[in-house]
Amino acid sequence: MYNFDAVIIGGGLAGLRAAYELVNNKIKTALISKVYPIRSHSNAAQGGVNAALGNIEKGLPDNWEKHAYDTIKGSDYIGDQDAIMKMCKEAPYRIYEIEHWGCPFSRTDEGRIAQRPFGGSGFPRTAYATDRTGHAMLHTLYEQIMRKNEKNKYLTFFDEWFVTKLIVKDKSVKGIIALDLKTGDLHPFRTDAAIVATGGVGRIYSKSTNALINTGKGLAIAYRAGADLKDMEFIQFHPTTLYGTNILVTEGARGEGAYLLNNIGERFLKNYEDSKRAMEIAPRDIVARNMIREIKKGNAVNNLYLHLDLRRLGEKLISKRLPGVIELARKFAGINAITEPIPVEPAQHYTMGGIDVDINCRTKIDGLYAAGEAACVSVHGANRLGGNSLLETIVFGCIAGEAAGEYLSKIKKKNERMYLMESALREEKKGIEDLYKREGNESSFKLFEEMSIAMWNNIGIFRNEVQLKEGLENLKRIKERCNNVGIRYKGKRFNFELYWLLELIGSIDIAEAVIMGAIERKESRGSHYRTDYPKRDDENYLKHTIATYSPEGAKLSYKPVTLGYVVPAESYFISRRILTPLLPSGSPAAALCAAPAPCILMENTALPVRHRF
């Protein structure tokens, strides 16, 4: 039995940032990750991280209020505005902090952190380290944790361990059970606080830019333990991923001026009402939808994919600004992006929803926290802006670590849990032994694949009631077939048949919450596009979907969105019709509705900002 004050599940940016905070406060912490932390998916982030540093002034100077405004608008008004403001206000401090720790940001001529424009932002606000920003930040954080941990060793890493269960009693965290993949043994961890930072759930889709590890298991164990999931139906699809492997081709490519072409070499985006003006740099969801429409029309190249054409940019610019794109096109598609167009298709990219947490990363279970893509605070609402995901991890990773530390200092440590831990361990052990004994003829790998294909086909970029219900039925059938999965290899070390079965069981829970949320949200908002309800409906759906676990399936309820700073307006490039009925008449918000420029109401100026270096 292991004994820790806090356990962090997941070793990406959010998990590591939380770990730093705990270790800094001398709290005995375990960090459990199913891969080595530096292999986490944070690594894959290319473009950059948003903060209103104002290092590149173009016209008006940038400030955090403008960053908040862009984020709220990008969220299609379903992001919680207090949380968004908190994130944007803290952004510069978290960026300076990680720079002081050694993050190798690219530089301006004056030696300041370089920033570039990104979709949905009014300013060049995205700080970057070439096109490998996630890698640079992840390594920097890991390095500084090595430094913190050198002498006192408050932090213990459990690399290649897999958490199977969260133990909750009387609505508070008591411990977890984890599987050591190297030995195949289960171990109980006694702890009063747990932080889930396991990233997104992208792999529930067959076409996804996410790493194979992003199955949503962290969400699933919290969900089964009684935490709620929020806004799971909001899944972001990225327009340009490499055909076949679905490796991300950064939005930066289109930002720099690459064209999207159909089978006759036509910039087809001009044929669609919502993209004809902005063309390639229209928002992600609009471009992705129009690409699918074009493919369905039969205008795809070889009837399979579309072309992303960088050629007009010239060799010099491509090599300087997009070296990663050249590398991946060469390695994974055998294409020379300087002389040939790249075959691309849309794929799942980001999970806006997640474990329901408040502005301090707390769930409704005492001692249980979540941060990063695994959590839904919510700062991304119905659609995340590029560059805000990395920001969320370091801002809310820090907040989760602080909140957990504060909680630990307040509670009385109890020692009456031996029995609880032992019985939970016995139960979990028996569960796994039973799985080993099974002789069914289904394979966990195949079922996982079938589930993810069904998700792509039924709950993809375009959704409608008939398809969604069909998807739910498909998922139920797959769930039943899980009982017939046999494990042929009986060894315990790195048993991937067992491992994928455990993943699959978790992913099905999550997939179900995604579909149920999508069925009930009878409107189109951000990434959630219903062909049978193509309009946004603020009157009925300006609210968060909450999914609560029950053995019969997800139970849905709703929660209000925190508004108060920016007024919902029709999003994107459509005219700014303001929805006045939402506002109390005579309020300052209503007065600002008519303003043509972005309006921010500074009612709450008391948001805390922490300077700590």
């Binding site: 002081h100 530089r107 004056e110 030696g111 920097t140 430094r147 994974f332």
Partner: protein, 173 residues
């Protein structure tokens, strides 16, 4: 992994590119095998931790970011790309014979911080590298450079560290 005679990243190696009838895949070298192709990376990461793989920033720490001019930033431009995959370690003949050798990637990391204009720990870093199991164990075989999937050159970094030490006239080992 060792794939048809060379250390490569299995995740990005294309079968067609190998242009071979038979493909032989072996685990990373010099490390204990846990199962099939999975090795125990403990030693690799112990070496990594040993060299103080973190920026020790100059004082005073500025209110905003450290000023680092583009030409200074370009000095670390390559070394920061290391993904700690271990290919260089597996390919290094010295790592196979000297269990205490720090290995190419850890020493590359040392050079990464030595060249960072924000770092203030040159002396400390050279002291760690200046060891019979440190830079002086490198025989300049350049296998590391040959296999690096990120096209980095640890052997060159090691020789740069050697020069720094010699300049200070404090060779040990």
């Amino acid at each position: 992994m060792h794939i048809n005679g060379k250390y490569r990243l299995a995740c990005e190696t294309q079968i067609l590119e190998l242009n071979a009838e038979t493909i032989i895949i072996q685990p990373l070298g010099h490390l204990p095998v846990l199962r099939d192709l999975i090795v125990d990376l403990t030693r690799f990461f112990e070496n990594y931790r040993h060299i103080k793989p973190y920026l020790i920033g100059k004082s005073p720490i500025p209110e905003k970011e450290y000023i680092q001019l583009p030409e200074d930033r370009s000095k670390i431009g390559n070394t920061i790309d290391c993904i700690l995959c271990g290919s260089c370690f597996g390919a290094c003949p010295v790592a196979g014979t000297d269990n205490a050798y720090l290995g190419p990637s850890a020493l590359l990391k040392t050079e990464r911080f030595l060249t960072d204009s924000r770092d203030a720990a040159e002396e400390e870093r050279l002291k760690i590298a200046n060891d019979i199991h440190g830079v002086w164990r490198c025989h300049s075989v350049f296998s590391c450079q040959e296999v690096c999937p990120k096209e980095l050159n640890p052997a060159e970094a090691i020789s740069k560290i050697k020069k720094r030490i010699l300049k200070k006239g404090s060779k040990k080992g």
